[in-house]
């Protein structure tokens, strides 16, 4: 029997376990359709805010040694209301709507915009700058996280995912708080704060100076976070960070992730990366005699 690539992240059912991460190409329904046809199990939208954001001026992305990127696009996005209208026609693509905001009510307002859209889940991007506490992110403030998750859960029956990163607070505390507040799943991790300086012109390269490191360099860090979360909690996890091959994806499954997201790999291998990883996983499953993704989730914790 052919193994099945289908997976479930709690209530969320996917045909294929490789998702497009937030912020990557996530701007138009036509592109979502194309990505889905190309093998993505779901697409996560750019993180949407209540209002349109232009983001930072260029340079907003920089390629570092070792296959990674530092980006500071500044969460540019058309705003939740505009975006909701754009994806209303969607019937086919499993879309996860990523949301970013600094007060709990933002999330309520945004989720309401999507009432008429086919959305399989909302992902709360907790790496938004904190309005009150300079230098902190939303995810660094447990009280705020609790309120955001609670309001989101109260606004909709659609599953809510919290996306965590290495902020200034221990991400495991944020995970704890989110779980206590009723979160349905965790995506780990977001980019890691980083920077690059040009030695000739002697200035930070990104217009925002700092940016988020993604891609190959952060994979070992992301993998450890997934393993740590899955060792402590019984919560569905989506692994994210540096996946570019089927081996990377399988490592995340073995660490306890039920699905993975990828972004940077698209910048290197383009959209074909989805079918390549799907095929690799399928071959692996045949070889190991697995019938479903579930068979391998968390296996590395047994040893």
């Amino acid at each position: 029997m052919e193994p099945s690539l289908a997976t479930s992240i709690g209530q969320i059912q996917l045909d294929r376990p490789v998702m497009l991460a937030s912020g990557i190409l996530g701007i138009s329904l036509d592109v979502f359709n194309r990505l889905y046809r190309s093998g993505a199990g779901a697409v996560v939208t750019k993180s949407l805010s209540t209002e349109p954001w232009e983001g930072y001026p260029n340079p907003t992305i920089f390629s570092v040694k070792g296959g990674g990127w530092i980006n500071a696009v500044g969460l540019s996005n058309p705003g939740a209301p505009n975006f909701a209208k754009m994806i209303e026609p969607n019937q086919e693509v499993p879309i996860v709507v990523s949301l970013v905001g600094s007060i709990p009510e933002d999330f309520e307002m945004m989720i309401q915009q999507f009432e008429n859209c086919k959305v399989i889940a909302y992902e709360l991007n907790l790496s938004c700058p904190h309005v009150a506490k300079v230098g902190l992110e939303v995810g660094d403030d447990p009280e705020l996280v609790r309120k955001i998750v609670t309001i989101a859960k109260n606004t909709t029956d659609i599953p809510i995912i919290a996306k965590v990163g290495l902020g200034t607070t221990h991400y495991l505390n944020t995970v704890n708080t989110a779980i206590d507040s009723g979160i349905d799943a965790i995506t780990a991790i977001n980019t890691v704060r980083a920077m690059a300086i040009d030695v000739e012109t002697q200035r930070p390269i990104l217009s925002n100076k700092f940016g988020g490191l993604s891609g190959t360099p952060i994979k070992p860090i992301a993998l450890r976070c997934v393993y740590e979360i899955s060792s402590k909690h019984d919560i569905p996890i989506i692994g994210c960070g540096g996946v570019s091959t089927w081996e990377d994806a399988v490592e995340f499954f073995l660490a306890g992730a039920s699905a993975i997201q990828l972004g940077s790999a698209v910048g290197n291998d383009w959209i074909d990366v989805f079918s390549e990883i799907n095929n690799g996983i399928l071959q692996y499953m045949k070889r190991k005699n697995y019938s479903s993704i579930k068979d391998m989730v968390g296996l590395a914790k047994k040893s």
């Binding site: 340079p59 907003t60 992305i61 390629s63 058309p78 910048g267």
Partner: protein, 270 residues
């Protein structure tokens, strides 16, 4: 290989040429950029200012390349103001390239859209019969006419300039000329780069007559590598799937010629 393209290289501007009061060509040395294909572009970092996509202009000297920039908003003005001896960062080349046919060719360029056309000219065979149309608003804004004539001096060729106000060359929109020419004779290849409406009309004129036509699209570009999504036109990403698209493909794209996305990613009408 891909990864190396993506690393920023610092180059020094060796020479600046004024093409018009608002257009300058900046020459620098870089082997990789000197050998790019017509249609390919670089992401150009003006330290402390911005980074923007630029078609790679040819240079007479081997091992050198150039950018020809029109002063417009903050980024392009920043590049326009770069002086000889100053450093800029470049990465790429990015994007695909024109598929050069043989025989009777029509090249249609407007403004800095002429840049990939000049590089395309450097690849034509001496037996090709080449017509170059240069569109501009007025006499002041015409450039590369002599360069085109010079590059084609051994070819059967025509270089026709049209200005909207008739202050130089033929009067009217360059797209009217295109319609006239494709109506009169069959071209083996039609190539366009310039304002979207110019490309849209050129593609329509040629494609409706089943001629092979390609256009190099421009969209807001942040990353240039197919990550950020800012350059999408329908389901295509200009930086990665393009910038060059076939008339066939473009004819079925609902956004080409009608919509572009602003910096927040909102679709706006041209």
């Amino acid at each position: 290989m891909q990864r190396n393209h993506n690393h920023t290289t610092i180059v020094t501007i060796e020479k600046v040429i004024d093409e018009t009061p608002t257009v300058r060509t900046l020459i620098f040395s870089d082997d990789r950029m000197s050998n790019v294909l017509p249609g390919q572009f670089a992401m150009v970092w003006i330290p402390g200012v911005n980074e923007l996509p630029m078609s790679v202009m040819i240079s007479k000297e081997p091992g050198k390349a150039a950018f020809t920039v029109r002063k417009h908003g903050p980024a392009s003005t920043g590049l326009f103001n770069v002086k000889e001896g100053q450093q800029i960062g470049i990465r790429g080349p990015y994007g695909n390239s024109f598929d050069l046919k043989e025989g009777k060719l029509l090249l249609v360029g407007g403004g800095t859209g002429l840049v990939p056309m000049m590089r395309l000219l450097s690849f034509v065979k001496s037996t090709d019969d080449v017509t170059v149309l240069i569109g501009a608003k007025s006499k002041d804004e015409v450039f590369f006419e002599d360069l085109a004539n010079n590059m084609l001096k051994n070819n059967p060729h025509k270089v026709i300039v049209s200005t909207d106000d008739g202050s130089y060359g033929e009067k009217g929109f360059v797209t009217d000329l295109v319609e006239k020419l494709v109506n009169e004779s069959n071209f083996d290849g039609v190539y366009a780069c310039g304002p979207e409406i110019m490309m849209y009309k050129t593609v329509r004129s040629a494609h409706s007559r089943n001629m092979f036509v390609q256009a190099s699209l421009e969209r807001m570009m942040k990353c240039g590598v197919g990550i950020c999504g800012s350059c999408c036109v329908g389901e295509d990403l200009v930086c990665r799937d393009g910038t060059v698209f076939d008339g066939d493909h473009l004819s079925s794209n609902k956004e080409f010629g009608h919509f572009y996305r602003n910096k927040a990613g909102i679709l706006e009408k041209y």
